[in-house]
């Protein structure tokens, strides 16, 4: 039995992630206890404590936030239940509290996206940014990584930045206003969105403003959801850094290894994905649609 404390189902990406873990568990004949925390850390901690009370063999956590895990991880350790952290990072002083982290590096994603954009525009670019939810780690770190890179290019700067709360609706609404404020979007060279959903909303806003996304305004974001690949294939978007939702396999591998007695496991298994562009988009879309 393995308990899996998931964040919620706030985005299409998250849902694919949950489904892939469940499918993987089924394939391997693991009894998976799935818990949805509805984006709340307190629910997630409750779930983990319930797993402990239930006496599961191992626990997988996809944490909502990086901090705040120390007490509950200590409790798990006392109960001798191995914990694997997936997707996001966590901050605890004591490494022994978990078996390993299978995490992507958000700032690396931001850097990749920025690097692509700088390479494409030779560092000349007025960028507008659609941020994720204020305070979310993904938003903070992606912005951080992105800014680190463009800081090196004096002619590239972010002219407007506002939160689109990781959703398509907000992304579109905010982009609309930004375009208005930026003289109808003239002079804006690129849109940088913290996730694909907002980017897709932004693309629609650009189209409705009478501009051509993908050429008048470049679009770059993170995640790699099927819809975005389609947009890239259609030429409406330019690039995305993929974030693989298939984290279930590696996590179960680690757990099986650990329970098998092999305690020699690296503390970090990095999964930062690749950057995809329009070139391969059509093919990738076909591949992903079939999954």
């Amino acid at each position: 039995t393995i308990g899996f404390a998931q964040v919620g189902s706030e985005s299409g990406w998250r849902t694919s992630f949950s489904e892939s873990v469940k499918a993987e568990a089924k394939k391997r004949g693991i009894d998976l206890k799935f818990s949805d925390a509805q984006q709340k850390q307190e629910n997630q901690i409750k779930a983990v404590r319930s797993f402990i009370a239930q006496g599961v063999d191992a626990i997988i956590i996809a944490p909502v936030v990086e901090t705040g895990w120390k007490p509950v991880l200590r409790e798990a350790k006392r109960a001798r239940i191995p914990v694997v952290i997936v997707d996001r990072n966590i901050q605890v002083g004591d490494d022994s509290l978990f078996v390993t982290r299978i995490a992507s590096d958000f700032s690396e994603e931001g850097r990749k996206a920025a690097q692509w954009l700088m390479d494409t525009t030779q560092g000349n670019c007025k960028i507008v940014e659609l941020q994720g939810t204020v305070g979310a780690t993904a938003a903070i770190d992606r912005a951080q990584g992105f800014n680190d890179v463009i800081g090196k290019y004096p002619n590239a700067n972010i002219v407007r930045s506002q939160t689109g709360e990781f959703t398509r609706t907000k992304g579109k609404e905010v982009m609309e206003s930004i375009l208005k404020a930026e003289n109808g979007g003239k002079g804006v060279c690129a849109l940088w969105a913290h996730n694909d959903e907002m980017a897709l909303g932004g693309i629609q806003a650009i189209k409705e403003a009478g501009l051509k996304p993908g050429s008048d305004i470049l679009v770059v974001s993170v995640d790699g959801v099927p819809d975005y690949f389609k947009a890239m294939a259609d030429g409406d978007a330019n690039a995305t850094v993929e974030l693989s939702p298939h984290l279930g396999g590696p996590a179960f591998d680690v757990i099986e290894k650990y329970l098998g007695g092999d305690k020699n496991i690296p503390k970090l298994i990095s999964t930062t994905g690749d950057l995809f562009t329009q070139d391969t988009a059509a093919a990738e879309y076909q591949k992903r649609r079939l999954q």
Partner: protein, 366 residues
């Protein structure tokens, strides 16, 4: 105070001059028309809106400019109208629910359900646009009636009854499309969200039509009066022979209907149904809009027009924040301050305080 001879003549008990003097004395105490203050109700919300718009003008001189391009009007003001459509629709429904002393927290979730149903049908099969829209509206009305039933027939407190659907409704919306954000290709349906008619965005028309129809339905029949009576004093309304349960059922149904339209606009706007995020937290905005419009949450008098003004204020505020270019982390602080200012403007006590302070300042100078 002028005395009208006609008004004296209808007092048939006048027979002696002494009586006439008496009645004159009695009349002199009253000044008709002063006790009601219909204008005052509109004054403060509307001035708050105007003030906010002026702030924008100050920040961006071209704010009020409207141009005509490809058969539609284009400009920040039009955007505000367009973007406020979902909240305005919700506020229309919410104001009648609040007028009965209730509240509906589920409108955001109902939006998501209606959107999911429409999107699911558009993707899944060959339904005509008409069928799809009818299905969406029906789902909204049914959801509203469920709320209404819980409130009126089971006597569950409105906030809890609708909280149930607020929680479960999002689950239902996601269930319909298995948690995926379904994207559809239907220009006809997309028109609901992004089309334009006679220059104005279609959502604006939807708001206008809904506003007009509800206004007719509520004010050209006795329904509006019944709603207010139930909201002011449910027990007395029962003694009057008003079917308070029926009235409650109706208002929740109407709210569900409005939420369904709002949900379809939101879905058509991004041409996809996002069960988890469509209409998220919009119920709070809708309630805020109604209250900014001057309604009491304890029930009673309502004004649909003022609620729509409230929705416009909220949207203008959001636009202002985006235009201001301040970092996103200040959003909530700005919102809190503006809400407080609007509220204070509406408070008689505050206005009196402010007046006396102003007077004091002037006196001090003189």
């Amino acid at each position: 105070m002028s005395q009208q001879p006609q008004s004296l003549s209808i007092v048939n008990k006048v027979d002696s001059p002494a009586d006439e003097a008496l009645i004159a004395a009695r009349k002199a105490r009253y000044s008709p028309g002063k006790s009601t203050n219909a204008l005052g109700r509109y004054l403060w919300p509307v001035s708050a809106l105007v003030l906010l718009l002026l702030v924008n003008l100050f920040m961006d001189a071209s704010f009020f400019s409207i141009s005509y391009q490809d058969g539609r009007l284009y400009g920040s003001l039009i955007d505000i109208l367009n973007r406020s459509a979902p909240v305005a629709l919700l506020a229309i429904g919410m104001s009648v629910v609040i007028a009965t002393g209730g509240i509906d927290l589920s409108v955001g979730a109902v939006m998501a359900i209606a959107g999911a149903v429409c999107a699911g049908m558009l993707v899944g099969g060959n339904y005509s646009l008409f069928t799809v829209i009818c299905a969406g509206l029906t789902v909204g009305i049914v959801a509203g009636l469920v709320n209404g039933g819980l409130v009126s027939f089971l006597g569950i407190q409105p906030i809890v009854a609708t909280l149930l659907l607020m929680v479960a409704g999002r689950g239902v919306a996601q269930l319909i499309n298995q948690g995926q954000i379904v994207t559809f290709q239907s220009d006809a349906f997309a028109f609901i969200g992004i089309g334009a008619f006679l220059g104005l965005p279609f959502p604006v028309w939807l708001v206008l039509i809904t506003l007009l129809l509800s206004q007719l339905l509520l004010r050209r029949t006795a329904l509006g009066l019944f709603i207010e009576a139930v909201g002011c004093n449910a027990s007395a309304s029962r003694y009057l022979g008003i079917n308070d349960k029926g009235v409650k059922l109706f208002v929740y149904g109407l709210t569900g209907f409005c939420a369904a339209i709002a949900g379809m606009i939101a879905t058509a706007d991004i041409q996809g149904a996002d069960g988890n995020n469509t209409g998220l937290w919009l119920e709070l905005d809708a309630i805020l809009a109604v209250v900014i419009g001057g309604a009491a949450l304890s029930g009673g008098r309502f004004s649909l027009v003022l609620s729509v003004v409230g929705a416009l204020i909220i949207q203008t505020l959001s636009t202002t924040i985006i235009l201001s270019g301040l970092p996103a982390k200040f959003n909530l602080l700005i919102k809190a301050s503006v809400v407080l200012i609007v509220l204070l403007l509406q408070s008689d006590v505050f206005r009196q305080h402010a007046q006396s302070v102003l007077k004091g300042l002037k006196g001090g100078k003189a």
